[in-house]
């Protein structure tokens, strides 16, 4: 059925004779079939074996992508093409494909936000032509996280044309020969920018991969709860690692959880943990030595509400990983916590900072009362021989506040409907002016996250006239914005939805003064198609 729906312009997928041979040649199902066997057992009804060792399976062998990218394609095979595959085989196949046809760390690096589901941002660095041709329906990262032969980019264009025939009639398409340009120019450009064979992949593929077993010192942020530090134990399991996590939030309350992780392509860490009853996901990238990982953690049920996550492996060495908060106002006393591992020896917060009192001391955390007397600037706190460059900033005046995300999108929902609201979480980052004394210039000193009070206002006169601030949602003390209810609203003009354009304001105290920062919020209609990678 599915095949007949394809665009007639598409190259036939498979010669029937070849496919038959392939099916017959498939070995009997083993208890744990390898990747190629899974493909033979599940995919060859439509795909074919090419006989070419370098690219053995039609369509499947000439692309590389992330585990999420592979999952998305196989999901489409199931949902639209009618492919059948068991959950176990699917998991094993995604592992196999991501390991053997994945992206090198440097290839995925610029687009990690999409893997981390950190999508409240305006994409930068997407070529303008590609933006118009491709990134006007979905993210540019969706295709920038793939590598294909030129032919495979062309077939992707054909898939779009066949699946979404009106693609030619949209604005930014009907003004041009969309299909011709897409196939003969865009696909060629993609083949050059994102080719199947790259030196990065060639060297990563053969590089030894780190074992991530061990004890990890973890720092993260959970919206509504705040910053936390924890230990996460990773023990080898059949398909990856078994995880145990214990820690505390900045306010002293505990967190604890357990779960599993899989590592794809030798560095893509994907974990599912239940932390205090909530199912959470971790998406991180490990460095080449397997000593550090960085990424994001978010609830499995609400990927928009997440926070940064960092993990440093215990390798028996002393390490200072962070100071929290990471800023100290000149002349003021404040409590600071130094987080790390194997913290032994003398504690110093840097030049001109007096430690008035050590309040609590462990080998992974030291809480002190400190006072800054010295000049404005970055300091490198140390414990014994371990230090953290630029880990603490001393400032005189808070020059500006940045609201992150600067651009966010939330979606109405709830109100008895099937679609949940999509919320957003905000944080405030403080800066001092730096040596030139001017805020907003390159030498501004990033101080770190600061507590803020949050409010909203209409984005402009149109939004004010439509009373967007009354209808579109509200923000709480934790910086979590909850959009309005779904459905037509008779109280609005033309029964409009509770959509709106708002400015989100963070007010941060600086001595007796207040410094404000603003972010832009679009409260939008539901997204009825939520892909693994939007």
């Amino acid at each position: 059925m599915a095949l007949t729906k394809q665009n007639k312009k598409r190259v036939p997928l498979v010669g029937p004779a070849l496919a038959l041979v392939a099916v017959l040649a498939a070995p009997a199902m083993a208890a744990q079939p390898d990747g190629e066997t899974i493909i033979r057992n599940n995919c060859l009804a439509c795909h074919s074996e090419t006989g070419d060792k370098a690219a053995p399976f039609s369509r499947i062998s000439e692309q590389r992508k992330t585990p999420e990218g592979w999952r998305m394609t196989i999901n489409r095979m199931q949902a639209l093409r009618g492919a059948k595959i068991s959950p176990e085989d699917k998991r094993a196949l995604i592992q196999y494909l991501a390991d053997n046809q994945g992206l090198a760390p440097t290839e995925a690096e610029p687009y990690r936000y999409l893997l981390e589901q950190d999508t409240n941002r305006v994409e930068e660095g997407i070529d303008e032509g590609l933006g118009q041709m491709c990134a006007r329906c979905h993210s540019g990262a969706r295709f920038s996280l793939q590598r294909r032969s030129e032919d495979e980019w062309k077939r992707l264009v054909d898939f779009h044309m066949g699946q979404f025939p009106t693609i030619e009639f949209h604005s930014l398409a009907r003004d041009r020969a969309w299909y011709d340009i897409a196939k003969n120019e865009t696909a060629v450009e993609l083949g050059k920018n994102f080719p199947l064979i790259t030196p990065q992949w060639n060297s990563w593929k053969t590089a030894p991969k780190a074992d991530l077993t061990g004890r990890w010192r973890v720092l993260g942020f959970v919206p509504g709860k705040g910053q936390f530090d924890a230990w996460m134990n990773a023990a080898k399991s059949e398909s990856g690692y078994q995880l145990q996590l214990e820690g505390q939030y900045a306010d002293g309350s505990k967190l604890s959880g357990s779960g599993n992780a899989r590592v794809y392509t030798g560095y893509e860490w994907r974990a599912a943990l239940t932390i205090d009853g909530v199912k959470m996901r971790q998406v991180m990238a490990a460095d080449a030595k397997g000593g550090e990982m960085a990424g994001r953690m978010f609830p499995a049920a609400e990927r928009a509400i997440g926070g940064e996550l960092r993990a440093v492996r215990d390798q028996g060495e002393a390490e200072v990983i962070a100071v929290m908060p990471s800023l100290l106002r000149q002349g003021e006393s404040a409590e600071l916590t130094i987080l790390g591992q194997h913290l032994e020896g003398d504690v110093s917060l840097g030049e001109g900072i007096e430690i008035e009192k050590v309040l609590e001391r462990d080998d992974d955390s030291i809480r002190v009362l400190a006072r800054a007397t010295g000049s404005e600037g970055a300091r490198s706190p140390s414990v014994g021989s371990a230090s953290l460059e630029g880990g603490l900033s001393v400032y005189q005046t808070l020059a500006r506040v940045e609201v992150v995300p600067a651009n966010a999108l939330t979606r109405i929902g709830g109100n008895g409907g099937e679609m949940e609201k999509v919320r957003a979480v905000y944080r405030a980052v403080g800066y001092s002016a730096g040596a030139d004394g001017k805020a907003g210039t390159e030498d501004d000193l990033r101080l770190g996250y600061m507590p803020a009070t949050w409010s909203i206002k209409p984005a402009d006169e149109v939004a004010a006239h439509d009373k967007d601030e009354d209808f579109a949602g509200s923000i709480d003390a934790h910086g979590i914005f909850t959009p309005g209810d779904a459905g037509p609203n008779p109280a609005r003009k033309m029964s409009a939805n509770n959509v709106g354009r708002l400015t989100v304001i963070a007010s941060v105290n600086d001595g007796d003064a207040q410094v404000r920062g603003e972010g832009s919020m679009l409260v939008s209609v539901p997204d009825f198609v939520r892909r693994v990678l939007d």
Binding site: Q163, A406, P488, A496, D527
Partner: protein, 107 residues
């Protein structure tokens, strides 16, 4: 027409377009990841970076748009991919609560 400046670096260019037809000659909208503003109207944003030219409420002409797969990355296209989407929800402006999304298993 007012603009969401920070959401759209190109807003001033679009601002200069005298009518929606002219928008096509202007550069693509930059929107938050995973949104579309360039079908006319867009789903989350209109081509001016605002909400003024969107179908509002979105329920009023939902099928007219979904049938023509107008925003296939945001609304299930009933033309090819999800012919049954919206089944049993004859009038979206009355029965919108029953509209469900296509949620991929992202495990």
């Amino acid at each position: 027409m007012k603009h969401l400046k920070s959401l759209n670096k190109k807003a001033h260019l679009i601002n200069q377009a005298v009518s929606p037809e002219d928008v096509e000659d202007v550069v693509a909208m930059q929107t938050v990841v995973g949104c579309t503003a360039t079908t006319d109207p867009g789903w989350e944003l209109d081509p001016f970076g605002g909400l003024g030219s969107l179908c509002q409420p979105m329920e009023s002409d939902l099928y007219g748009c979904a049938d023509a797969c107008w925003w296939p990355a945001q609304v299930p296209d009933t033309m090819n991919s999800y012919p049954d989407w919206g089944e049993g929800v004859a009038k979206a402006d009355k029965d919108w609560r029953k509209l469900d999304g296509i949620f991929e298993d992202g495990e």
